[in-house]
Symmetry: C2
Subunit: 241 residues, 2 copies
DNA sequence: TCTGCGTAGATTGTTAGCAATCTTGTCAAC
DNA sequence: GTTGACAAGATTGCTAACAATCTACGCAGA
């Protein structure tokens, strides 16, 4: 039985999916019940997730889902700007004929989704495009880091994709990136990618103070309320007639 | 007692200092004895170090000190190029008067050490300069990532600093970086930093295939041989007359 | 009524031990 | 002499129970 890995992945997926509210306490005993395993496994999983920056562990205070502020999201995006710029440049140097065709295909689909107003699909294609660039770049170190950062950004990125008019702004930027890669021009590819993420950062700065909207889409599970008392002589659990 | 953190730090320092040979197995029981604690603590520490990329953990096969190949070192340096470029640009925007004075001071000391042929001191000042730039940039996300990467690079960086003529090459590059930051020119600072790390990458590419030299400087502790049999009915331990 | 302290109980940190797994040396068969 | 399988035992994976720590409630005093 490979318990540990499964639990860490499930928990990670759960957090990324929004099953747990940002800032919510992750009580080990509760997670044991939910995943049907022991505290040791849960603890290992939590440590692993803490290393990925998805949860925050404080001594004697347990783990909570890490809240990423807008300021942090901007910092993360600045790092993305640098690293995805690197990947775009490398992609321009390494892209095969098939790669180029696929990139063009993705951009076509994005255009269609954008014009049809399919925000969700546009957002997914956007992720696909960025990932494809990373795959072509074949730069393991930056890929690993970008993966980590993406995990921390999920919520804000989700918000962004719903900002009206966002697709119209980013579409030509994506076209420029793909054009440069297809043309095999590393410098232009890097510049285009950086310009694109600059605009993402600008949009983040304009974003309202974050918060509730997400919980409307992904309501917290009733058995795991956002806050919960700790200690005290509250017999609340058993005191239900 | 805060055991866990101390052990993780001690182990990290030990690896960075070169107490453990690259690729060496880290047997939990041995580490327990060495640090005077239990396997749980050791295990947590190892997981933490694995997350930082300093050790490699494989299921049922334990932990070993991660070996970073020259190719990986180059990849890491490419990421450093992107992120330190970002930091240099931000430093140029944020540096106070005191910061500028301190930067100039460090460069002066480097010049002196370089001319005196004090390779070790030059290498330390080099690290100090890069760190100072990061501190001025005040960019937590990239600082955290750069810290991790630095840990993985230590060995190769050490090799580099011993390459004859290296100081003479990097000195003007460092001057250019500091000049740009002092002048408050973010673009020039980023360009200068990227040029500098480009030359580091070039030097890495020219480096001989890595390996033994380091063990001459930091011989492995006798109680922790690089390789050790596992399993089998070898009574080697007790069979010493 | 408000404030500060002690205590109950929930929660996490740690320990010791059993079970599963892998490595290596040895032996037999070809 | 070489190749394959077997078994010993070292090593890691996991479980359950104990100890340390923190939080909130309620009571006494002002």
């Amino acid at each position: 039985m490979t318990g540990e890995i499964d639990v860490a992945d499930s928990l990670r997926d759960g957090i990324l999916r929004g099953d747990y509210v940002a800032g919510q306490r992750l009580v080990e005993a509760d997670l044991c019940e939910r995943f049907g395993t022991t505290r040791f496994i849960i603890r290992s999983a939590l440590q692993s997730l803490a290393a990925q920056g998805l949860v925050e562990m404080r001594r004697n205070r347990g783990a909570r889902v890490r809240t990423v502020t807008i300021d942090e999201a901007i910092e993360i995006s600045e790092v993305r700007r640098a690293l995805e710029g690197l990947c775009a440049a490398r992609a321009a140097e390494r892209a095969t004929g098939d790669d180029r065709a696929e990139l063009r295909q993705i951009v076509q689909s994005m255009k269609a989704a954008g014009q049809a107003g399919e925000l969700l699909q546009y957002s997914e294609l956007n992720a696909t495009l960025h990932q494809k660039v990373r795959v072509i770049a074949a730069h393991e170190t930056s890929a690993r880091i970008l993966d980590q950062l993406r995990g921390q950004m999920v919520r804000h990125q989700f918000h962004l994709s719903l900002v009206p008019g966002r697709a119209a702004i980013s579409m030509p930027q994506h076209e420029a990136i793909v054009e440069a890669i297809v043309a095999g021009d590393p410098g232009a590819a890097e510049t285009a990618m950086r310009a694109h993420i600059d605009s993402v950062i600008e949009a983040l700065r304009a974003l309202p103070a974050a918060g509730a909207p997400l919980t409307v889409i992904h309501p917290p599970t009733v058995s795991h309320p956002p806050t919960r008392p700790r200690g005290g002589r509250s017999d609340a659990r058993r005191a239900q007639p």
